[in-house]
Amino acid sequence: MEKQIVETATKTQNYSLEFFGKGSEYFGIMIVNWLLTIITLGLYYPWARAKKLRYIYGQTALNNERFHFSGTGKEMFLGFLKVILLYIVTVFVSALITFVVGPIVGGLFLYLVILAAIPIAVHGSLRYKMSRTSYRSIRLGYRGNRNELVKNFFKWIFFTIITLGIYGSWLAMNLRRFTHRHIRYGDIEFSNDSDGFDWFLLNLKGYFLTIITLGIYMFWWQRDIFNYYWNNLKMKKGEQNITCSSIATGGSFFELLIGNLAIVVFTLGLGLPWAYIRTQKFVCDNVKMEGNINFDKIQQTEEEYTDALGEDAMDFLDIEVS
């Protein structure tokens, strides 16, 4: 009996990531979204966003089981209202400080709030999006500590400023490591080993080779970025683990990006949904997972979470976290 357990614990599993979405279906969703958004003078926007996310998640499958996005338009709408309210309060308080103390202090206050809003938005957005993502009835979750992230973020920003932006590479990877390491899927923990120096060299090389080759290297630079992202992502459950890797090549990136450009240009933008679907398919086709975690045996661990604030703060600031 004991021997059997050890065997299942170390047995290598097969994983296949697939994307079933079709451009025509996605186009239909976008058209209906567009119609309802117009008719409601933009108010439908959060619901439209929920529809879009639900389609994309639902068409993504691991080992033939689909993911699910359970967020609703109502949640995101309320989140948006909260962001607007916070924005108004911030502007009002900074105006008050300007009036009472002086414009320098008032301006400084505004900058600090805007700066702090970035990590808070990243935190909130991840917490919301993860809590609304599930697979085989088990939720994902983000357990990072908000204050810790804000504190770290200010530290990283400070280093970035005094190094005239060079530390930006470290900032990006530190943020990635911090956020990924706090993601859970049931009793699986995510981890990430990205390193600022590697990232800096990768981009330095990409930048100069792109210039030297008159832009042609751009596709290989994109490949390096994509591969770096995925090759550093790991999952762990006790002794078991999964490592992710990418098999994307510069040639396949060339095909994807030039193809998307052609689709969008020749359809005057109407082909955008097809380009988006191609990109999603590309990601799923090129990411491979290896390891011995059995996805049939994951326990629900995440508590319910009911704050949609971050999700729209992200939309507001237009930052994408992947």
Binding site: I29, V32, N33, L35, L36, G42, G58, S137, I138, D296
Partner: protein, 355 residues
């Protein structure tokens, strides 16, 4: 008849999938579920939410957090969708989507066309009327902002500006706002009015003129733009148009940058045809009221038209359809009573402006 079908059930506690048999009772609006272990559950349609992927349905129940029932059965999918539709549990988005591609496209095209019609015919008058609600101080603020940047870039002809001011002082433009006149050294044939009452005349356009009535015509025309607040109306029309377009693409950013951009280019904004005609007609009245020959307006057009054979002067290209406007002027002059008195003072000042 036995309607029991097989499905898979995820209980929301672990990721393991369990075989489950489902009995769909549509008269009672419920699903009876039975697991392999013999546990049975009843799911009411009113608690359910469904995602469909072709024949595969993923059913979730708001009372069973995270649990999923997956059924892959064509017959069941159709019957279940019908039942949910009857319960009005299918949202508007899904119902619209189920109309089919061609019907949605037709609706989308209809909406698009009606938006275009609104954009062309309903929006401009609304925007212009709402411009009337803006305070005069707004006109001044915008005008001052623009004049500063323009005068930074170009050279003022101080001598001619002095003469032009004397010239204008002899005339009554019927304006409510005090007018300012400036002559700018430029080879461009152009003149424009800003909402703060600033009227800028380029030296090249003065060179084109043969008699003082043409200059009076030009000044009257520009003064009418100020009187009717045409540039503010155009500004708010452009802004409203942009807001509508940004709504179309669900993009709310950039309205402020548009305001700034438009304000910067205020002097080269092209007025609409009605605005030009309005300014022509009022300008003509000013000519008549000041006992200046109204044909000065016609001669001004002719002079500018002649110039356009060699190069298109900006004032013509942005002031459309000169020929129609000329004919319109002639018609109004024929219908009007007017007295022309040759003003020696204006003639004298005009001569010194021409030097």
């Amino acid at each position: 008849m036995n309607n029991t079908i097989e499905g898979r059930y995820f209980d929301g506690l672990s990721s393991a999938s369990k075989q489950i048999s489902i009995l769909f009772n549509d008269s009672k609006n419920q699903l009876c579920l039975q697991t392999e272990d013999g546990d049975s559950l009843i799911w009411y349609l009113s608690d359910l939410q469904v995602e469909s992927y072709d024949n595969l349905l993923e059913i979730r129940n708001k009372n069973y957090l995270d649990a999923i029932l997956k059924v892959d059965d064509k017959d069941f999918a159709r019957k279940f969708y019908q039942a949910m539709k009857k319960k009005k549990a299918i949202d508007i988005h899904t119902r619209l989507l189920s109309l089919g591609f061609s019907k949605i496209s037709i609706v989308a095209v209809c909406v698009l066309v009606s938006i275009c019609l609104m954009y062309l015919y309903i929006l401009p008058p609304i925007a212009e009327n709402s411009a009337a609600l803006l305070p005069e101080s707004f006109d001044n603020h915008i005008g001052n902002m623009v004049i500063e940047t323009i005068l930074e870039e170009s050279k003022i002809d101080v001598e001619k500006t002095k003469h032009l001011k004397q010239f204008a002082a002899e005339l009554n433009f019927g304006n409510t706002k005090p007018l300012e006149f400036t002559v700018v050294k430029s080879s461009e044939v152009n003149a424009f009015a800003l909402p703060n009452g600033q009227i800028v005349i380029y030296t090249a356009i003065l060179d084109e003129m043969k008699s003082y009535d043409q200059l009076v015509a030009l000044l009257s025309h520009e003064a009418s733009h100020v009187y009717h607040r045409h540039s503010i109306k155009i500004l708010s029309r452009n802004l409203a148009g942009y807001m509508m377009i940004s709504l179309l693409f669900s993009d709310v950013n950039g309205i402020m940058s548009l305001l700034a951009k438009n304000a910067q280019q205020l002097h080269s904004l092209s007025y609409s045809r009605e605005f030009e005609e309005e300014a022509d007609e009022q300008g003509l009245k000013t000519l008549i009221n000041n006992n200046v020959n109204p044909y000065g307006m016609v001669k001004l057009f002719e002079q500018l038209e002649k110039k356009s054979k060699f190069s298109v002067p900006k004032i013509i290209s942005s002031h459309p359809l000169t020929k129609d406007r000329k004919e319109n002027m002639k018609k109004i002059i024929l219908e009007s009573d007017y007295v022309v008195r040759n003003d020696n003072k204006l003639t004298a000042i005009f001569e010194s402006l021409k030097n």
